[in-house]
Symmetry: C2
Subunit: 382 residues, 2 copies
Amino acid sequence: MGEEIREVLTKLSETLGISEKDVKKHLGRSIRLMKYRGLEYAVFRRELLGYREGTVILLGEEPLIVHGYPSIQRLAFIEGVKKHMIDKVVVEEKMNGYNVRTIYYEGEVYAITRGGYICPYTTSRIRKLYGKNIEFINKEYGNYVLVGEVVGTENPYVIYDYPEARGFDYFVFDIMDGDRLLPLKIKKEISEKYSIKTVRELAIIDKDDISTLKQVINKLEKEKREGVVLKDPEHRVPPLKYTTIYINIKDIEEGMKHPFDEGRSYLFSRIIRLIAQGYEYNWNDDELNRIALKLGKAILEPAIKSLKKRAEGKIIASSYVLVFPSKQDLEEFIEFMEALGVDFITKIIEERKEEVIVELMKLKETHGIYSKMLETGYSPLD
Amino acid sequence: MGEEIREVLTKLSETLGISEKDVKKHLGRSIRLMKYRGLEYAVFRRELLGYREGTVILLGEEPLIVHGYPSIQRLAFIEGVKKHMIDKVVVEEKMNGYNVRTIYYEGEVYAITRGGYICPYTTSRIRKLYGKNIEFINKEYGNYVLVGEVVGTENPYVIYDYPEARGFDYFVFDIMDGDRLLPLKIKKEISEKYSIKTVRELAIIDKDDISTLKQVINKLEKEKREGVVLKDPEHRVPPLKYTTIYINIKDIEEGMKHPFDEGRSYLFSRIIRLIAQGYEYNWNDDELNRIALKLGKAILEPAIKSLKKRAEGKIIASSYVLVFPSKQDLEEFIEFMEALGVDFITKIIEERKEEVIVELMKLKETHGIYSKMLETGYSPLD
């Protein structure tokens, strides 16, 4: 066994308070070792030893546990807020992007995805955007972890254009101190003081004031926005989330470009959300017909279009445009995607000073399945 | 170990040509022991030792293997028939019911479901309907197995009303000799000679005559029928199946009465079928809109209706009316459903001579999940 892995085992054993033998048992399965630049880190790929999925242990000089962000209970019915909350409810906008924890650790800022990976691309962009701000927060408050949504059009995960967002942007929605979500007032103070954008606070309501909450959600519906996260001001009870009909259908439409990838995984859950909405809003026949048509088209149209594309010999992939601060960042990102087992192609579109513009294509399962369907005429499912 | 189980082990070991130890290894998992009246039998719950899932070993005086009916490859595109078939293709109607193998064995007729269980209800009804006919076939041909679809409104599995069918009816589509599907001519001869109904033969075409095949399918589409099974006249290559747009959407509509039961399992596969149909038929905007609306309504409407029903305190279950020849048959069927772990209620509606009319309600997972949603307001899925 190499010196390096022995050191890692010792650090993990000490940090987690379990034997090295037990650490070994989990390595490679539940706990995965990764490296970004000089920093080794351990990723919890599932809930384990009382730590949430997505928890990370940064294995520098002084190992640090970055806890996973808790998963948020989804409401089927807006009315459910009355049963769950205590008194006041802060209604924050839920943005359509990906969840990123940022932390300053041993001299550098790192951006950690929901699953617990330091994403080299996200890290490189966050450093440019907020590197200094996050460093200053660390100087004042210690190991606080900012949690926010990366949104916009320049990322390798979720492309969604917000008028208020830069191509790559970061909106903080919580600050964690260890395992604990800080009161929203503190998040607000720190974000304002250090000029970090936050998600919009849309209202503060009494938990029984469903009519105001519905008004807020109806407005988001019209503005084609994702939805809300409902929080107790002090996080005395866990937050709740609720999404618009618009985004539930939009997710299906996007997903069904690749039915055997996102399509398959999005379909049922979004449909269940719509069913609950149809019930709570008590749709009449016109409303039902209007939404049924949208849903049906969102399911069929993109999938048939992709099948045509494949029949014409085109590749079925999802495409992203990324802007790397340097070529080193690009190389590190490529290594990262390879380590995660993603099937992809990159192509440099343009190289400027401090800007390497790259097209990333993630190849889809749908590509191969459609190919075989077209070749044999057989259905891939019974 | 009891005398009886010892005897079963010996019989299975001899019939399968493997050691008793190996038999034991599979018992309770891959091979399940069941009993119907005096007859013990072993069910292959999955493919094993070269036998298909649904294979049954009848453990009477002289054990007999009843092979599973092969699963039929589904076509995504009608055009696929050209690549798969040899020359001629027999186009048979695919009926919407459940697959049942019938056999005369040591003095009695038994009806075996696709999964390999002797269904006491189906057996009791088939005996009344075709008991003598099947016995005579056995006298002339030995252990031939009839394979057909039970259809109609009086069964505990698939309720679908065919004008040409009695409340409980049986349409043969193949005869098996051991593992082998007999040429269709022989099936025809035997069925005619012994007055057993068969599924309709809709056409015999040349494999390249896609336009005739499409005409046949379009007619079924208009008549709201399920689809076709395409067979080589001598079964030199395996059959193919293809279903109408009508039934693909109808399945979803039926299934979505219970979204967390059949709904969840039907949804994706039927949608994939529709996508392939949209591509092959090259739907224009009007056609796409028409089918999208139907699909959307088939998904949302029954599920919202069920949720309303549950909110009003009603039970979410699927309901069947069964006609048993005797009370003993009813009791045996109840035992059978209990052994399979089905959650159900029965209620005798009427008792006459040789007719016990029973309402069967199968309780659905959806019942409990909807209850919890309504109680907490939480979504059962993320």
